[in-house]
Amino acid sequence: MKRLLLGAAAIVCLTNLGALTLGALNRTGPEDAEVTLTERELRLVHDSDSTATTLRMMFVQRFDEAEWLTCPKLATLGVSCAPPPGSDMARWYARQPERQAYVVLEDDGPAWQSYRQAEIRRQEEARRTYKSAAPDNVESLLDGYSRLVAIDADSDAAVLRSRYPDRHRYLIVDARVSIYGRVGPDGNGRTRLSGTITRLSPQTINVPKPYSSVFASMEGSTYAPSAERAPRYWVTLRYGRFHEPWIVNAGRTQ
Protein backbone atom coordinates (compact mmCIF):
# COMPACT_ATOMS: atom_id res chain seq x y z
CA MET A 1 0.00 0.00 0.00
CA LYS A 2 2.75 2.41 0.94
CA ARG A 3 4.44 1.85 -2.41
CA LEU A 4 1.18 2.57 -4.29
CA LEU A 5 0.61 5.80 -2.37
CA LEU A 6 4.18 6.92 -2.99
CA GLY A 7 3.55 6.11 -6.66
CA ALA A 8 0.41 8.29 -6.65
CA ALA A 9 2.35 11.17 -5.07
CA ALA A 10 5.14 10.68 -7.63
CA ILE A 11 2.57 10.88 -10.47
CA VAL A 12 1.38 14.25 -9.12
CA CYS A 13 4.94 15.61 -8.85
CA LEU A 14 6.08 14.27 -12.24
CA THR A 15 2.96 15.67 -13.95
CA ASN A 16 3.59 19.13 -12.51
CA LEU A 17 7.28 19.05 -13.30
CA GLY A 18 6.62 17.75 -16.82
CA ALA A 19 4.01 20.41 -17.57
CA LEU A 20 6.22 23.20 -16.22
CA THR A 21 9.20 21.92 -18.22
CA LEU A 22 7.14 21.85 -21.43
CA GLY A 23 5.85 25.35 -20.64
CA ALA A 24 9.43 26.58 -20.12
CA LEU A 25 10.57 24.91 -23.35
CA ASN A 26 7.75 26.63 -25.23
CA ARG A 27 8.88 30.00 -23.94
CA THR A 28 12.62 29.59 -24.46
CA GLY A 29 14.38 29.94 -27.79
CA PRO A 30 13.17 31.99 -30.72
CA GLU A 31 9.47 32.83 -30.55
CA ASP A 32 7.20 31.75 -33.38
CA ALA A 33 5.33 35.07 -33.46
CA GLU A 34 4.77 38.26 -31.50
CA VAL A 35 1.88 40.64 -32.11
CA THR A 36 0.18 43.44 -30.25
CA LEU A 37 -3.59 43.08 -30.28
CA THR A 38 -6.40 45.16 -28.81
CA GLU A 39 -9.80 44.63 -27.25
CA ARG A 40 -11.14 44.02 -30.75
CA GLU A 41 -9.19 40.78 -31.04
CA LEU A 42 -9.00 39.78 -27.37
CA ARG A 43 -12.30 40.08 -25.54
CA LEU A 44 -12.51 39.99 -21.79
CA VAL A 45 -14.32 36.87 -20.53
CA HIS A 46 -16.69 37.39 -17.63
CA ASP A 47 -17.43 34.65 -15.13
CA SER A 48 -19.21 35.60 -11.94
CA ASP A 49 -17.79 32.53 -10.11
CA SER A 50 -14.17 33.26 -10.97
CA THR A 51 -11.72 36.07 -10.23
CA ALA A 52 -9.38 34.86 -12.97
CA THR A 53 -8.82 37.20 -15.91
CA THR A 54 -9.05 35.51 -19.30
CA LEU A 55 -9.23 36.84 -22.84
CA ARG A 56 -11.01 35.17 -25.74
CA MET A 57 -9.41 35.45 -29.16
CA MET A 58 -11.75 36.70 -31.90
CA PHE A 59 -11.05 36.40 -35.60
CA VAL A 60 -12.78 36.88 -38.94
CA GLN A 61 -13.37 34.10 -41.39
CA ARG A 62 -14.51 34.95 -44.90
CA PHE A 63 -17.42 33.11 -46.47
CA ASP A 64 -17.86 35.51 -49.41
CA GLU A 65 -16.12 35.64 -52.81
CA ALA A 66 -12.74 35.56 -51.02
CA GLU A 67 -13.52 32.30 -49.25
CA TRP A 68 -10.46 30.06 -49.22
CA LEU A 69 -11.37 27.11 -46.95
CA THR A 70 -13.09 25.28 -49.80
CA CYS A 71 -13.11 21.62 -50.88
CA PRO A 72 -9.61 21.56 -52.47
CA LYS A 73 -8.07 23.08 -49.31
CA LEU A 74 -10.18 20.82 -47.06
CA ALA A 75 -8.89 17.79 -48.97
CA THR A 76 -5.31 18.72 -47.99
CA LEU A 77 -6.45 18.70 -44.35
CA GLY A 78 -7.96 15.22 -44.64
CA VAL A 79 -11.60 16.34 -45.02
CA SER A 80 -13.38 14.80 -47.98
CA CYS A 81 -16.20 16.59 -49.78
CA ALA A 82 -17.28 13.34 -51.51
CA PRO A 83 -19.50 11.02 -49.48
CA PRO A 84 -19.15 7.25 -50.03
CA PRO A 85 -21.44 5.89 -52.78
CA GLY A 86 -24.90 4.97 -51.55
CA SER A 87 -24.73 6.98 -48.34
CA ASP A 88 -27.37 9.45 -47.18
CA MET A 89 -25.75 12.80 -48.15
CA ALA A 90 -27.34 14.92 -45.43
CA ARG A 91 -26.48 12.42 -42.66
CA TRP A 92 -22.96 11.97 -43.96
CA TYR A 93 -22.12 15.68 -44.02
CA ALA A 94 -23.77 16.33 -40.68
CA ARG A 95 -21.63 13.66 -39.05
CA GLN A 96 -18.29 14.59 -40.58
CA PRO A 97 -15.92 15.07 -37.63
CA GLU A 98 -13.70 18.07 -37.08
CA ARG A 99 -10.05 17.89 -38.12
CA GLN A 100 -6.95 19.24 -36.48
CA ALA A 101 -5.03 21.85 -38.51
CA TYR A 102 -2.85 24.93 -38.18
CA VAL A 103 -4.46 28.17 -39.25
CA VAL A 104 -2.76 31.45 -40.25
CA LEU A 105 -4.30 34.57 -38.72
CA GLU A 106 -3.19 37.82 -40.38
CA ASP A 107 -3.20 40.86 -38.09
CA ASP A 108 -4.51 44.11 -39.60
CA GLY A 109 -3.13 43.42 -43.05
CA PRO A 110 -4.34 43.28 -46.66
CA ALA A 111 -6.88 40.57 -45.83
CA TRP A 112 -8.57 42.83 -43.28
CA GLN A 113 -8.59 45.79 -45.70
CA SER A 114 -10.07 43.58 -48.41
CA TYR A 115 -12.73 42.25 -46.02
CA ARG A 116 -13.57 45.77 -44.84
CA GLN A 117 -14.00 47.08 -48.39
CA ALA A 118 -16.11 44.09 -49.37
CA GLU A 119 -18.38 44.57 -46.32
CA ILE A 120 -18.85 48.30 -47.04
CA ARG A 121 -19.63 47.51 -50.66
CA ARG A 122 -22.10 44.79 -49.67
CA GLN A 123 -23.88 47.05 -47.17
CA GLU A 124 -24.16 49.86 -49.72
CA GLU A 125 -25.69 47.47 -52.22
CA ALA A 126 -28.11 46.23 -49.56
CA ARG A 127 -29.03 49.83 -48.68
CA ARG A 128 -29.74 50.60 -52.32
CA THR A 129 -31.79 47.42 -52.77
CA TYR A 130 -33.73 47.33 -49.49
CA LYS A 131 -33.68 51.08 -48.65
CA SER A 132 -33.62 51.25 -44.85
CA ALA A 133 -32.76 47.58 -44.15
CA ALA A 134 -28.99 48.05 -43.95
CA PRO A 135 -27.42 50.06 -41.10
CA ASP A 136 -26.02 53.52 -41.89
CA ASN A 137 -23.05 53.20 -39.57
CA VAL A 138 -21.46 50.16 -41.20
CA GLU A 139 -17.96 51.68 -41.15
CA SER A 140 -18.35 52.43 -37.47
CA LEU A 141 -19.44 48.84 -36.83
CA LEU A 142 -16.50 47.49 -38.82
CA ASP A 143 -14.11 49.52 -36.66
CA GLY A 144 -15.06 47.30 -33.77
CA TYR A 145 -14.47 44.03 -35.61
CA SER A 146 -11.42 41.87 -34.93
CA ARG A 147 -8.68 42.57 -37.43
CA LEU A 148 -7.32 39.08 -37.22
CA VAL A 149 -8.36 37.37 -40.44
CA ALA A 150 -7.94 33.65 -41.13
CA ILE A 151 -6.18 33.37 -44.48
CA ASP A 152 -4.69 29.87 -44.79
CA ALA A 153 -4.48 26.44 -43.19
CA ASP A 154 -2.27 23.39 -43.36
CA SER A 155 -1.52 20.29 -41.33
CA ASP A 156 2.16 21.37 -41.07
CA ALA A 157 2.98 24.56 -39.15
CA ALA A 158 6.49 24.78 -40.66
CA VAL A 159 5.05 24.89 -44.18
CA LEU A 160 2.80 27.77 -43.17
CA ARG A 161 5.65 29.67 -41.53
CA SER A 162 7.75 29.38 -44.69
CA ARG A 163 4.79 30.79 -46.64
CA TYR A 164 4.20 33.61 -44.14
CA PRO A 165 7.61 34.53 -42.68
CA ASP A 166 6.56 37.87 -41.09
CA ARG A 167 6.36 36.88 -37.40
CA HIS A 168 4.86 40.25 -36.40
CA ARG A 169 1.87 39.98 -38.70
CA TYR A 170 1.05 36.28 -39.06
CA LEU A 171 0.08 34.03 -36.17
CA ILE A 172 0.09 30.28 -36.69
CA VAL A 173 -2.51 28.80 -34.36
CA ASP A 174 -3.62 25.25 -33.64
CA ALA A 175 -7.28 24.98 -34.69
CA ARG A 176 -10.12 22.72 -35.71
CA VAL A 177 -11.83 22.77 -39.06
CA SER A 178 -14.97 21.04 -40.24
CA ILE A 179 -17.15 20.84 -43.32
CA TYR A 180 -20.70 22.05 -43.70
CA GLY A 181 -23.20 22.46 -46.50
CA ARG A 182 -24.26 26.05 -47.15
CA VAL A 183 -27.79 26.90 -48.14
CA GLY A 184 -28.18 27.81 -51.77
CA PRO A 185 -26.76 26.43 -54.98
CA ASP A 186 -23.15 26.84 -56.04
CA GLY A 187 -24.09 27.91 -59.56
CA ASN A 188 -24.38 24.36 -60.80
CA GLY A 189 -27.57 23.66 -58.87
CA ARG A 190 -25.83 21.81 -56.04
CA THR A 191 -25.58 22.66 -52.36
CA ARG A 192 -22.34 24.52 -51.80
CA LEU A 193 -19.87 22.86 -49.44
CA SER A 194 -17.59 24.91 -47.29
CA GLY A 195 -15.10 24.64 -44.50
CA THR A 196 -15.25 26.48 -41.21
CA ILE A 197 -12.82 27.02 -38.35
CA THR A 198 -14.77 25.81 -35.36
CA ARG A 199 -12.30 26.79 -32.64
CA LEU A 200 -8.73 27.70 -31.83
CA SER A 201 -6.55 25.87 -29.32
CA PRO A 202 -6.17 27.60 -26.97
CA GLN A 203 -9.17 29.84 -27.61
CA THR A 204 -8.83 31.68 -24.30
CA ILE A 205 -5.67 33.20 -22.89
CA ASN A 206 -4.92 33.41 -19.20
CA VAL A 207 -3.86 36.88 -17.97
CA PRO A 208 -1.37 36.50 -15.11
CA LYS A 209 -0.42 39.07 -12.51
CA PRO A 210 0.71 41.87 -12.83
CA TYR A 211 -1.00 42.30 -16.25
CA SER A 212 -4.41 41.36 -14.82
CA SER A 213 -4.44 44.72 -12.97
CA VAL A 214 -4.87 46.44 -16.39
CA PHE A 215 -8.33 44.85 -16.59
CA ALA A 216 -9.29 45.32 -12.92
CA SER A 217 -11.95 48.01 -13.27
CA MET A 218 -13.30 46.57 -16.48
CA GLU A 219 -14.97 43.60 -14.82
CA GLY A 220 -18.67 43.50 -15.50
CA SER A 221 -18.57 45.71 -18.57
CA THR A 222 -18.98 44.46 -22.11
CA TYR A 223 -17.43 45.69 -25.29
CA ALA A 224 -19.74 46.99 -28.00
CA PRO A 225 -17.99 47.57 -31.30
CA SER A 226 -18.24 51.14 -32.55
CA ALA A 227 -16.05 53.97 -33.76
CA GLU A 228 -17.00 56.09 -30.73
CA ARG A 229 -15.92 53.39 -28.32
CA ALA A 230 -12.20 52.82 -28.91
CA PRO A 231 -10.56 49.63 -27.60
CA ARG A 232 -9.77 50.06 -23.90
CA TYR A 233 -6.60 47.98 -23.77
CA TRP A 234 -3.79 46.43 -25.77
CA VAL A 235 -1.97 43.16 -25.19
CA THR A 236 1.34 41.95 -26.60
CA LEU A 237 1.12 38.25 -27.22
CA ARG A 238 4.02 35.95 -27.94
CA TYR A 239 3.72 32.44 -29.41
CA GLY A 240 6.41 29.90 -28.55
CA ARG A 241 7.82 26.89 -30.33
CA PHE A 242 4.74 24.74 -29.49
CA HIS A 243 2.38 27.48 -30.77
CA GLU A 244 1.22 28.21 -27.23
CA PRO A 245 0.81 31.91 -26.41
CA TRP A 246 1.60 33.99 -23.35
CA ILE A 247 1.25 37.64 -22.51
CA VAL A 248 4.49 39.66 -22.45
CA ASN A 249 2.96 43.11 -22.01
CA ALA A 250 -0.40 44.81 -21.62
CA GLY A 251 -1.71 48.29 -21.01
CA ARG A 252 -4.61 50.68 -21.30
CA THR A 253 -5.13 52.71 -24.45
CA GLN A 254 -5.22 56.47 -23.90
Binding site: C13, D49, S87
Partner: protein, 358 residues
Amino acid sequence: MSAERNVTREQAQARADRIRAFRDELAAAESDGAVRLTADQRETLDRYHDTLLASLTARFDVDRSAAQHHLSLGLRVVSLLGAVALTAAAVLFFQRIWGFVPSAGQVAIVWAAPLAALWAAQRTSRAERTLYFTALLAVLAFGCFVLDVYVLGSVLNARESPLPLFVWSAFALAVAYAWNLRLLLVGGAVCAIAFCAAVTVTWSQLPWDLFFVRPESLLIPAAAVAATSVAPFNAQRGLFPATLRGVGFGIIALTVVVLSSFGEASRLWLPPRTIEHIYQVAGFAYALLLIGFGVRRGWTETTNIGAALFGLLLFLRFVDWWWDWMPKYLFFATVGAAALAFMFVLRALRRSAAGPHE
Protein backbone atom coordinates in the same frame (compact mmCIF):
# COMPACT_ATOMS: atom_id res chain seq x y z
CA MET B 1 -10.95 -18.64 10.38
CA SER B 2 -8.45 -20.71 8.44
CA ALA B 3 -7.43 -18.22 5.74
CA GLU B 4 -8.17 -15.09 7.71
CA ARG B 5 -4.83 -13.53 6.97
CA ASN B 6 -5.52 -13.25 3.22
CA VAL B 7 -9.17 -12.17 3.23
CA THR B 8 -10.43 -8.83 1.99
CA ARG B 9 -13.07 -6.75 3.74
CA GLU B 10 -15.73 -7.94 1.25
CA GLN B 11 -14.85 -11.58 1.95
CA ALA B 12 -14.92 -10.96 5.69
CA GLN B 13 -18.35 -9.33 5.39
CA ALA B 14 -19.60 -12.28 3.30
CA ARG B 15 -18.42 -14.66 6.05
CA ALA B 16 -20.18 -12.63 8.73
CA ASP B 17 -23.37 -12.63 6.60
CA ARG B 18 -23.14 -16.41 6.22
CA ILE B 19 -22.82 -16.86 9.99
CA ARG B 20 -25.87 -14.65 10.56
CA ALA B 21 -27.88 -16.58 7.94
CA PHE B 22 -26.72 -19.92 9.38
CA ARG B 23 -27.84 -18.98 12.88
CA ASP B 24 -31.25 -17.83 11.60
CA GLU B 25 -31.75 -21.01 9.59
CA LEU B 26 -30.58 -23.24 12.46
CA ALA B 27 -33.09 -21.59 14.78
CA ALA B 28 -35.88 -22.13 12.21
CA ALA B 29 -34.89 -25.78 11.67
CA GLU B 30 -34.83 -26.38 15.43
CA SER B 31 -38.25 -24.82 15.93
CA ASP B 32 -39.59 -27.12 13.14
CA GLY B 33 -38.03 -30.10 14.93
CA ALA B 34 -35.80 -30.98 11.98
CA VAL B 35 -32.62 -30.93 14.06
CA ARG B 36 -31.72 -30.88 17.75
CA LEU B 37 -28.23 -29.87 18.93
CA THR B 38 -26.99 -30.89 22.34
CA ALA B 39 -26.05 -28.16 24.81
CA ASP B 40 -22.36 -28.97 24.29
CA GLN B 41 -22.63 -28.82 20.52
CA ARG B 42 -24.53 -25.55 20.68
CA GLU B 43 -22.03 -23.99 23.07
CA THR B 44 -19.05 -25.09 20.94
CA LEU B 45 -20.67 -23.78 17.75
CA ASP B 46 -21.68 -20.46 19.36
CA ARG B 47 -18.23 -19.97 20.82
CA TYR B 48 -16.61 -20.67 17.46
CA HIS B 49 -18.87 -18.20 15.64
CA ASP B 50 -18.58 -15.54 18.34
CA THR B 51 -14.79 -15.77 18.29
CA LEU B 52 -14.78 -15.59 14.51
CA LEU B 53 -17.15 -12.59 14.44
CA ALA B 54 -15.12 -10.81 17.12
CA SER B 55 -11.96 -11.40 15.09
CA LEU B 56 -13.58 -10.14 11.86
CA THR B 57 -15.04 -7.12 13.64
CA ALA B 58 -11.72 -6.27 15.24
CA ARG B 59 -9.93 -6.43 11.94
CA PHE B 60 -12.53 -5.20 9.41
CA ASP B 61 -15.35 -3.69 11.50
CA VAL B 62 -17.84 -5.92 9.63
CA ASP B 63 -21.62 -5.45 9.94
CA ARG B 64 -23.00 -7.99 12.43
CA SER B 65 -26.70 -7.18 12.02
CA ALA B 66 -29.12 -6.13 9.26
CA ALA B 67 -29.41 -2.68 10.84
CA GLN B 68 -25.63 -2.23 10.74
CA HIS B 69 -25.62 -3.35 7.12
CA HIS B 70 -28.22 -0.74 6.13
CA LEU B 71 -26.35 2.00 7.97
CA SER B 72 -23.13 1.00 6.22
CA LEU B 73 -24.86 1.40 2.87
CA GLY B 74 -26.02 4.86 3.94
CA LEU B 75 -22.48 5.72 5.00
CA ARG B 76 -21.14 4.73 1.57
CA VAL B 77 -23.72 6.95 -0.19
CA VAL B 78 -23.03 9.89 2.13
CA SER B 79 -19.28 9.37 1.70
CA LEU B 80 -19.67 9.62 -2.09
CA LEU B 81 -21.87 12.72 -1.86
CA GLY B 82 -19.44 14.30 0.59
CA ALA B 83 -16.50 13.62 -1.73
CA VAL B 84 -18.32 15.20 -4.68
CA ALA B 85 -19.35 18.23 -2.60
CA LEU B 86 -15.86 18.75 -1.16
CA THR B 87 -14.29 18.47 -4.64
CA ALA B 88 -16.76 21.05 -5.99
CA ALA B 89 -15.98 23.30 -3.01
CA ALA B 90 -12.22 23.02 -3.67
CA VAL B 91 -12.66 23.87 -7.37
CA LEU B 92 -14.99 26.82 -6.71
CA PHE B 93 -12.83 28.16 -3.89
CA PHE B 94 -9.79 28.06 -6.16
CA GLN B 95 -11.72 29.92 -8.89
CA ARG B 96 -12.67 32.53 -6.30
CA ILE B 97 -9.07 33.24 -5.20
CA TRP B 98 -7.36 32.57 -8.55
CA GLY B 99 -7.32 36.22 -9.62
CA PHE B 100 -5.55 37.35 -6.42
CA VAL B 101 -2.70 34.84 -6.59
CA PRO B 102 0.34 35.12 -8.89
CA SER B 103 0.98 32.26 -11.34
CA ALA B 104 3.69 30.66 -9.18
CA GLY B 105 1.31 30.66 -6.22
CA GLN B 106 -1.48 29.15 -8.32
CA VAL B 107 0.76 26.30 -9.42
CA ALA B 108 2.03 25.75 -5.87
CA ILE B 109 -1.51 25.58 -4.45
CA VAL B 110 -2.88 23.14 -7.02
CA TRP B 111 0.29 21.05 -6.82
CA ALA B 112 0.05 20.78 -3.03
CA ALA B 113 -3.72 20.17 -2.86
CA PRO B 114 -3.80 16.52 -4.11
CA LEU B 115 -0.72 15.68 -2.06
CA ALA B 116 -2.32 17.15 1.07
CA ALA B 117 -5.58 15.25 0.49
CA LEU B 118 -3.61 12.05 -0.13
CA TRP B 119 -1.66 12.56 3.09
CA ALA B 120 -4.89 13.19 5.02
CA ALA B 121 -6.42 10.02 3.53
CA GLN B 122 -3.37 8.01 4.55
CA ARG B 123 -3.53 9.33 8.13
CA THR B 124 -7.28 8.64 8.31
CA SER B 125 -6.88 5.09 7.02
CA ARG B 126 -4.75 4.30 10.07
CA ALA B 127 -7.54 5.35 12.41
CA GLU B 128 -10.52 3.59 10.75
CA ARG B 129 -11.11 0.07 9.44
CA THR B 130 -14.21 0.73 7.32
CA LEU B 131 -12.40 3.35 5.17
CA TYR B 132 -15.47 5.56 4.63
CA PHE B 133 -13.58 8.75 5.47
CA THR B 134 -10.49 7.49 3.68
CA ALA B 135 -12.58 6.94 0.53
CA LEU B 136 -13.97 10.47 0.80
CA LEU B 137 -10.50 11.98 1.08
CA ALA B 138 -9.13 9.76 -1.70
CA VAL B 139 -11.85 10.95 -4.10
CA LEU B 140 -11.11 14.53 -3.00
CA ALA B 141 -7.41 13.92 -3.81
CA PHE B 142 -8.39 12.72 -7.28
CA GLY B 143 -10.62 15.78 -7.79
CA CYS B 144 -7.77 18.07 -6.68
CA PHE B 145 -5.41 16.34 -9.13
CA VAL B 146 -7.90 16.89 -11.98
CA LEU B 147 -8.05 20.57 -10.95
CA ASP B 148 -4.24 20.67 -10.77
CA VAL B 149 -3.82 19.51 -14.37
CA TYR B 150 -6.60 21.81 -15.60
CA VAL B 151 -5.07 24.86 -13.89
CA LEU B 152 -1.59 24.04 -15.21
CA GLY B 153 -3.02 23.89 -18.73
CA SER B 154 -4.78 27.23 -18.23
CA VAL B 155 -1.78 29.01 -16.68
CA LEU B 156 0.50 27.84 -19.49
CA ASN B 157 -2.17 28.38 -22.20
CA ALA B 158 -1.37 24.83 -23.29
CA ARG B 159 -2.89 23.22 -26.34
CA GLU B 160 -5.42 20.46 -25.71
CA SER B 161 -3.96 16.98 -25.29
CA PRO B 162 -5.09 13.50 -24.18
CA LEU B 163 -2.14 13.18 -21.78
CA PRO B 164 -4.15 14.37 -18.73
CA LEU B 165 -6.35 11.28 -19.13
CA PHE B 166 -3.25 9.11 -18.78
CA VAL B 167 -2.00 10.73 -15.57
CA TRP B 168 -5.49 10.86 -14.06
CA SER B 169 -5.91 7.17 -14.81
CA ALA B 170 -2.54 6.26 -13.27
CA PHE B 171 -3.27 8.31 -10.14
CA ALA B 172 -6.80 6.94 -9.67
CA LEU B 173 -5.67 3.32 -10.14
CA ALA B 174 -2.74 3.69 -7.72
CA VAL B 175 -5.04 5.08 -5.01
CA ALA B 176 -7.81 2.54 -5.80
CA TYR B 177 -5.42 -0.41 -5.37
CA ALA B 178 -3.89 1.10 -2.24
CA TRP B 179 -7.23 1.02 -0.36
CA ASN B 180 -9.48 -1.23 -2.50
CA LEU B 181 -11.69 1.71 -3.57
CA ARG B 182 -14.07 0.74 -6.36
CA LEU B 183 -15.18 4.27 -7.24
CA LEU B 184 -11.62 5.31 -8.08
CA LEU B 185 -11.12 1.99 -9.89
CA VAL B 186 -14.04 2.95 -12.17
CA GLY B 187 -12.58 6.45 -12.65
CA GLY B 188 -9.13 5.07 -13.44
CA ALA B 189 -10.47 2.43 -15.84
CA VAL B 190 -12.68 4.93 -17.69
CA CYS B 191 -9.77 7.41 -18.02
CA ALA B 192 -7.48 4.61 -19.27
CA ILE B 193 -10.02 3.54 -21.91
CA ALA B 194 -10.59 7.17 -22.97
CA PHE B 195 -6.84 7.81 -23.22
CA CYS B 196 -6.18 4.75 -25.43
CA ALA B 197 -9.18 5.64 -27.62
CA ALA B 198 -8.04 9.28 -27.87
CA VAL B 199 -4.54 8.28 -28.98
CA THR B 200 -6.02 5.95 -31.62
CA VAL B 201 -8.24 8.75 -32.89
CA THR B 202 -5.30 11.15 -33.35
CA TRP B 203 -3.76 8.65 -35.77
CA SER B 204 -6.60 9.59 -38.18
CA GLN B 205 -5.82 13.35 -37.88
CA LEU B 206 -8.91 13.81 -35.74
CA PRO B 207 -8.85 15.91 -32.57
CA TRP B 208 -8.21 13.62 -29.59
CA ASP B 209 -11.47 14.35 -27.78
CA LEU B 210 -13.58 13.21 -30.72
CA PHE B 211 -13.10 9.53 -29.87
CA PHE B 212 -16.80 9.32 -29.16
CA VAL B 213 -17.41 10.26 -32.82
CA ARG B 214 -15.35 7.17 -33.78
CA PRO B 215 -16.47 4.88 -30.93
CA GLU B 216 -14.81 1.77 -32.40
CA SER B 217 -11.59 3.10 -30.89
CA LEU B 218 -13.11 2.27 -27.46
CA LEU B 219 -13.59 -1.43 -28.19
CA ILE B 220 -10.06 -2.80 -27.74
CA PRO B 221 -9.18 -0.73 -24.61
CA ALA B 222 -12.54 -1.67 -23.04
CA ALA B 223 -11.94 -5.36 -23.79
CA ALA B 224 -8.46 -5.05 -22.28
CA VAL B 225 -9.92 -3.57 -19.08
CA ALA B 226 -12.47 -6.41 -18.86
CA ALA B 227 -9.66 -8.93 -19.42
CA THR B 228 -7.68 -7.56 -16.45
CA SER B 229 -10.50 -8.84 -14.20
CA VAL B 230 -8.97 -12.34 -14.40
CA ALA B 231 -5.42 -11.10 -13.84
CA PRO B 232 -3.71 -12.62 -10.77
CA PHE B 233 -3.27 -9.21 -9.11
CA ASN B 234 -7.07 -8.86 -8.97
CA ALA B 235 -7.75 -12.35 -7.56
CA GLN B 236 -7.75 -11.22 -3.91
CA ARG B 237 -9.37 -7.84 -4.56
CA GLY B 238 -12.99 -8.58 -3.58
CA LEU B 239 -15.34 -6.84 -6.02
CA PHE B 240 -12.59 -5.40 -8.27
CA PRO B 241 -12.93 -8.12 -10.96
CA ALA B 242 -16.71 -7.60 -11.19
CA THR B 243 -16.21 -3.82 -11.36
CA LEU B 244 -13.64 -4.09 -14.16
CA ARG B 245 -15.92 -6.44 -16.12
CA GLY B 246 -18.82 -4.04 -15.59
CA VAL B 247 -16.82 -1.09 -16.96
CA GLY B 248 -15.24 -3.00 -19.88
CA PHE B 249 -18.26 -4.97 -21.05
CA GLY B 250 -20.57 -2.00 -20.40
CA ILE B 251 -18.55 0.36 -22.62
CA ILE B 252 -18.39 -2.25 -25.40
CA ALA B 253 -22.18 -2.66 -25.13
CA LEU B 254 -22.76 1.11 -25.40
CA THR B 255 -20.42 1.31 -28.40
CA VAL B 256 -22.28 -1.49 -30.17
CA VAL B 257 -25.62 0.24 -29.49
CA VAL B 258 -24.33 3.53 -30.96
CA LEU B 259 -22.84 1.89 -34.06
CA SER B 260 -25.94 -0.22 -34.66
CA SER B 261 -27.90 3.02 -35.10
CA PHE B 262 -25.26 5.43 -36.55
CA GLY B 263 -23.15 3.61 -39.13
CA GLU B 264 -21.43 6.84 -40.22
CA ALA B 265 -19.45 6.79 -36.99
CA SER B 266 -17.68 3.59 -38.02
CA ARG B 267 -14.18 3.43 -39.48
CA LEU B 268 -15.14 0.53 -41.74
CA TRP B 269 -15.10 1.34 -45.45
CA LEU B 270 -18.67 0.17 -46.02
CA PRO B 271 -21.97 1.96 -46.62
CA PRO B 272 -23.43 3.20 -43.28
CA ARG B 273 -26.54 1.01 -43.57
CA THR B 274 -24.43 -2.12 -44.04
CA ILE B 275 -22.34 -1.17 -41.01
CA GLU B 276 -25.46 -0.70 -38.92
CA HIS B 277 -26.71 -4.16 -39.92
CA ILE B 278 -23.34 -5.70 -39.06
CA TYR B 279 -23.38 -4.13 -35.60
CA GLN B 280 -27.00 -5.12 -35.02
CA VAL B 281 -26.15 -8.78 -35.63
CA ALA B 282 -22.88 -8.46 -33.69
CA GLY B 283 -24.74 -6.76 -30.83
CA PHE B 284 -27.22 -9.62 -30.40
CA ALA B 285 -24.41 -12.17 -30.62
CA TYR B 286 -22.40 -10.22 -28.04
CA ALA B 287 -25.40 -9.97 -25.70
CA LEU B 288 -26.02 -13.73 -25.87
CA LEU B 289 -22.32 -14.39 -25.35
CA LEU B 290 -22.31 -12.19 -22.23
CA ILE B 291 -25.42 -13.93 -20.84
CA GLY B 292 -24.01 -17.41 -21.50
CA PHE B 293 -20.57 -16.54 -20.18
CA GLY B 294 -22.00 -14.76 -17.14
CA VAL B 295 -24.25 -17.71 -16.24
CA ARG B 296 -21.46 -20.26 -16.67
CA ARG B 297 -18.87 -18.31 -14.66
CA GLY B 298 -21.32 -16.94 -12.09
CA TRP B 299 -20.61 -13.34 -13.15
CA THR B 300 -23.85 -11.58 -12.24
CA GLU B 301 -22.89 -8.17 -13.63
CA THR B 302 -21.90 -9.74 -16.97
CA THR B 303 -25.23 -11.54 -17.25
CA ASN B 304 -27.09 -8.33 -16.38
CA ILE B 305 -25.21 -6.28 -18.98
CA GLY B 306 -25.93 -8.96 -21.61
CA ALA B 307 -29.63 -9.05 -20.74
CA ALA B 308 -29.90 -5.24 -20.74
CA LEU B 309 -28.07 -5.00 -24.09
CA PHE B 310 -30.27 -7.66 -25.66
CA GLY B 311 -33.42 -5.88 -24.48
CA LEU B 312 -32.19 -2.46 -25.65
CA LEU B 313 -31.12 -3.70 -29.09
CA LEU B 314 -34.44 -5.48 -29.51
CA PHE B 315 -36.36 -2.35 -28.54
CA LEU B 316 -34.34 -0.19 -30.96
CA ARG B 317 -34.95 -2.63 -33.80
CA PHE B 318 -38.68 -2.68 -33.03
CA VAL B 319 -38.68 1.12 -33.25
CA ASP B 320 -36.84 0.94 -36.61
CA TRP B 321 -39.16 -1.69 -38.05
CA TRP B 322 -42.62 -0.82 -36.71
CA TRP B 323 -42.87 2.59 -35.02
CA ASP B 324 -43.74 4.54 -38.18
CA TRP B 325 -46.59 2.37 -39.47
CA MET B 326 -47.86 0.34 -36.53
CA PRO B 327 -50.61 1.66 -34.19
CA LYS B 328 -48.91 2.70 -30.95
CA TYR B 329 -50.95 0.29 -28.76
CA LEU B 330 -49.94 -2.59 -31.03
CA PHE B 331 -46.31 -1.49 -30.97
CA PHE B 332 -46.12 -1.53 -27.18
CA ALA B 333 -48.11 -4.78 -27.03
CA THR B 334 -45.48 -6.33 -29.36
CA VAL B 335 -42.65 -4.99 -27.19
CA GLY B 336 -44.39 -6.43 -24.10
CA ALA B 337 -44.84 -9.81 -25.82
CA ALA B 338 -41.15 -9.85 -26.77
CA ALA B 339 -40.22 -9.02 -23.17
CA LEU B 340 -42.35 -11.95 -21.97
CA ALA B 341 -40.66 -14.30 -24.45
CA PHE B 342 -37.24 -13.06 -23.30
CA MET B 343 -38.26 -13.65 -19.67
CA PHE B 344 -39.16 -17.28 -20.49
CA VAL B 345 -35.74 -17.78 -22.06
CA LEU B 346 -33.97 -16.24 -19.03
CA ARG B 347 -36.08 -18.33 -16.65
CA ALA B 348 -35.10 -21.49 -18.51
CA LEU B 349 -31.46 -20.42 -18.23
CA ARG B 350 -31.96 -19.74 -14.52
CA ARG B 351 -33.37 -23.23 -13.95
CA SER B 352 -30.53 -24.87 -15.85
CA ALA B 353 -28.04 -22.91 -13.72
CA ALA B 354 -29.70 -23.89 -10.41
CA GLY B 355 -28.03 -27.30 -10.00
CA PRO B 356 -29.38 -30.76 -9.10
CA HIS B 357 -31.42 -29.71 -5.98
CA GLU B 358 -33.88 -27.54 -7.89
